[in-house]
Point group: D2
Chain length 317, copies 4
């Protein structure tokens, strides 16, 4: 059911595996006449790149984007925009030794169940590497949503930094929360019933690997409020009846800790027998995936908003 | 963009307003040969009905469902199933007096902005009455997902009851959390990237009026866990890489407090001038919408699962 | 796969059976603020109504449309528009005697194969009565496509009339061709690749029961032309590269003869044994379905164009 | 509106321009576990390749397909399959001299109208080169529809050959008709109302560049038949009520003559002033595009059928 597609009018379809030839995205439905350069896209990809600090994975993903189609003389033409990021630095041989094991937090077992086949190299399609394609598409979406600005960041980052150094020493990992704010919001975005703006945002966020929760406005705290108290937030939650009010929209996304850790872990093999999982020497994983998530959250938010902006062009005669 | 439709293969399209002729739903894509009686549907609607206890609104919605099409000799035929619930007890005259006011927590302002017109009678399309159509469709979805069982309930209900009586006396209202569990889960449901099972569930839940948050598995608590700790939950969160593992799925949905309260409230009229909003004598509202939400949560969950069951038929050759 | 839905942004979903409670349509994605009255819709339905002349079926379908939702104070609100036409004069008992027979040109056998169940009363969902719902939706679509005018008519009608009287006497039926012209065409409608305007029109026409062919511009005659000759038509076929050029669009649709005829016919029962089919006394069928088809062709054309008009709002930034 | 996508479950999204980096396709929704080799795809592409005989364009499109994703160890994995064909032999400089002219039969004018920008090099997105991506996808679709066989051919080919040689000498071109037959048809494919099998086939065929008409079964001839005569075809037209009956399906597609001809032609420039169009020396065009069309017709047919096969898995419980 077109599971690799997102959006109604401004749609993205991503493809590619972690250790295959590369990953890519086709953007269909992008309006013509938007100025886009390769650098605009590369800029966002750099923000996602690992290896930038000692707090992230040392894997060197240079992530050089190539524009395959849809842009002519620096502007979109209305034709589908295909972007491709070739894989490099992908040595899949070291995964051979653990391909028979159930890896906690990984999807090999459920993929095998569903499809009867699994490209296990580096997680194949299940790898978070797919999010690079979302970020590339998000770079273009950000141009459509002007003058709206999307800004995501890790909550409590200073406190987090200390904690992350601590867990790294233990060979462990940590979860985190991303807070995202949309400002200069255009009024009237979103639809009243199933395509409520908050529902579309939640849908987009929960499609990002490793997310466990989404809340907007007063969020879970609203469940403990009285009406008189919550009504004071009226108009300040940014979305009314599924439709943007013009006020800033703030939401939070919970990320689980990275599943791949250096610590030995008890697990089973695919036949169900107990084994101990020790990741191969040289495996490189972020101690806290949330650190690289802001640009992914921003990209998916921009993609939702770009689609909503276009859909809104059809609300009145 | 077909904002009143939900689903890919098993799709529902709802229609109708709070104080119009009635509300309804067309289910398209329902497999043939499912035994369905009017009573099956009515049974679920009764669970949503207000006026059942002193804790809910005294509005008498008899909510009698009529099957307009798609069922022949007690079985679905593969044709679209249209269900209709005529409105009764809908006296919209009393809303005339406050139709010029911005009602905190209500959507009239954003609808006017988006559409340039608003059917203000009882909230029109923005009324939570639309959820009756979802419940009717959910009754049929529940038949498709066999042997899966969906069960939702208000969290901490005993403690809640006492609190609700308290806020009722004050003319105020209260939020709440619904906890939903799917058991006997079929393996392999959901798709890896954008149609992850958790993303579809979150999308569905956040489309229910008055929701403010969604979390599944370890939820927001996962953000504070270490990897070694969260990995112990492996397989027990019910969803791996977007695909059901066969283990029970548990999620929580936050509902804000009812916006319509008896207490006088400061507001503005649609021109922006300050006024005091006092709901018309005889206005009937639930002090805690979460109390009636379990059957709605269950219905949307069943609709997501029914669609996922059908989509999964196409995953292998 | 939502087989009862048509369109991308302006979408129609029809429901209902020939001898059930009625037939209807939900229009989702109709822009707000369009003036629509019940009479506008009824006017188009009258054009489809049988029993108007001695050349059509004497079945008295009064086809009174009821607006169930989406229109408030005479204007569309952006909410889904549900229209319903209750069935009357539908005595299904006489079909009991032939329900075990394969009826040439009818779908009972293929429905049974596909769904394992068939609502045989008057053809159930397979009845051309479903087209009344299309006509009702088309009445609204016609308002969106202003200033475009869609006009369909039976080709060679005078010659046809004489022929039809002839076949009626023989208890036989006749096919026909509908020619449709769209004038005052807006430029830029249609999309270059799969949603070419001609492809959308062909798709719509071939979804009308009893159609066997579609051609536009030079049509099948183009296959025999030389390039120098066909190039002279440049811009005059109305569509260039899938996109409307502004010139009038003309297309033709072939309809087969009515399958239900009074003449006795050899057939088989559903077990494959030969029998003779004699339609029950009092069966009422048009001798030439093409005669009632123009308003259906116009309606589907208007629905395609309304959708294309809205889609085109998103082609440029 | 995702105009570059076709299909419901088995979907293709194509991208790329005639003189850009290449053209490609992403197949989303392909079931896992289908054996596919690069050679399977290349084999079909060779059938479309020009330059094979003196009757076709001498342009050397080697059309080497590259599998970018979705196939692992020779089998589909359920992940999206991306195929790419790099452009070669594409010297766009010679089009500079005529880029200001309206070229009869070409889409530059309508693209400019719609998008405000046009990648004129070799026709850009409007080039029939896009059909190579359809053929690549069709190669995989053909594996899904087993045991159905799709076979298309040019009608009256021997007579055509003589005519083509004649028009080539005159610097002119010729139209043609493709006849396609599907044999060993699976019963139950197609849906009753809008996604009738004939409507889907017609939609697919009319999306192929240069087509002007589609007919199936008795086609336009049915319009002149009597019911008693047409009923004798019962079950032999291959589709009943939109659903395949199991009998072979035959349809015909009309192609216009190639628009690009060597003969000088009167035209206008984009400002409307009359000019004479003489194609640049060395321009290479097929004298009869229909000659290369059979594999394209087969591919689109296979794509429609593959989708219908998967959709049909959801028709019964």
């Amino acid at each position: 059911m077109a599971s690799n597609r997102f959006g109604n009018i401004f749609t993205i379809t991503t493809f590619g595996e972690s250790h295959g030839k590369g990953i890519g995205v086709v953007i269909d439905g992008c309006p013509a006449n938007i100025e886009v350069s390769r650098e605009d896209i590369q800029f966002e990809l750099e923000r996602r790149r690992p290896g930038l600090s000692k707090l992230s994975s040392p894997r060197k993903e240079t992530d050089q984007v190539e524009i395959l189609s849809g842009i002519f003389e620096g502007r979109t033409t209305g034709a589908p925009i295909a972007l491709f990021i070739a894989n490099q630095d992908a040595d899949s041989s070291k995964y051979e030794s653990i391909k028979h094991l159930v890896r906690p937090g990984h999807a090999n077992q459920s993929y095998l169940e569903k499809y009867g086949i699994f490209d296990y190299r580096g997680g194949g399609r299940a790898s978070a590497r797919e999010t690079a394609a979302r970020v590339a598409a998000g770079a273009i979406a950000k141009k459509i949503i002007y003058p709206m600005i999307v800004r995501a960041e890790v909550e409590d980052l200073d406190k987090m930094k200390a904690l992350i150094e601590e867990v790294m020493e233990e060979g462990d990992s940590l979860g985190g929360v991303i807070r995202c704010e949309v400002s200069h919001v255009v009024k009237g975005l979103g639809d009243p019933i199933y395509q409520k703006l908050e529902a579309l945002l939640g849908f987009a966020m929960l499609s990002i690997p490793a997310t466990r929760g989404f809340e907007f406005g007063a969020g879970f705290a609203a469940a403990k409020m009285r009406g008189s108290e919550h009504n004071d937030l009226y108009g300040r939650e940014g979305i009314l009846g599924g439709i943007s009010s013009g006020a800033p929209i703030v939401f939070r996304v919970a990320f689980k800790p990275t599943s791949s850790i250096k610590k030995p872990q008890r697990t089973t093999n695919l036949e169900g027998k107990e084994e101990v999982l020790i990741l191969p020497e040289g495996s490189r994983h972020d101690p806290c995936i949330a650190l690289r998530a802001p640009v992914i959250v921003e990209s998916m938010t921009a993609i939702v908003l770009a689609d909503a902006v276009l859909m809104n062009r059809c609300s009145k005669i």
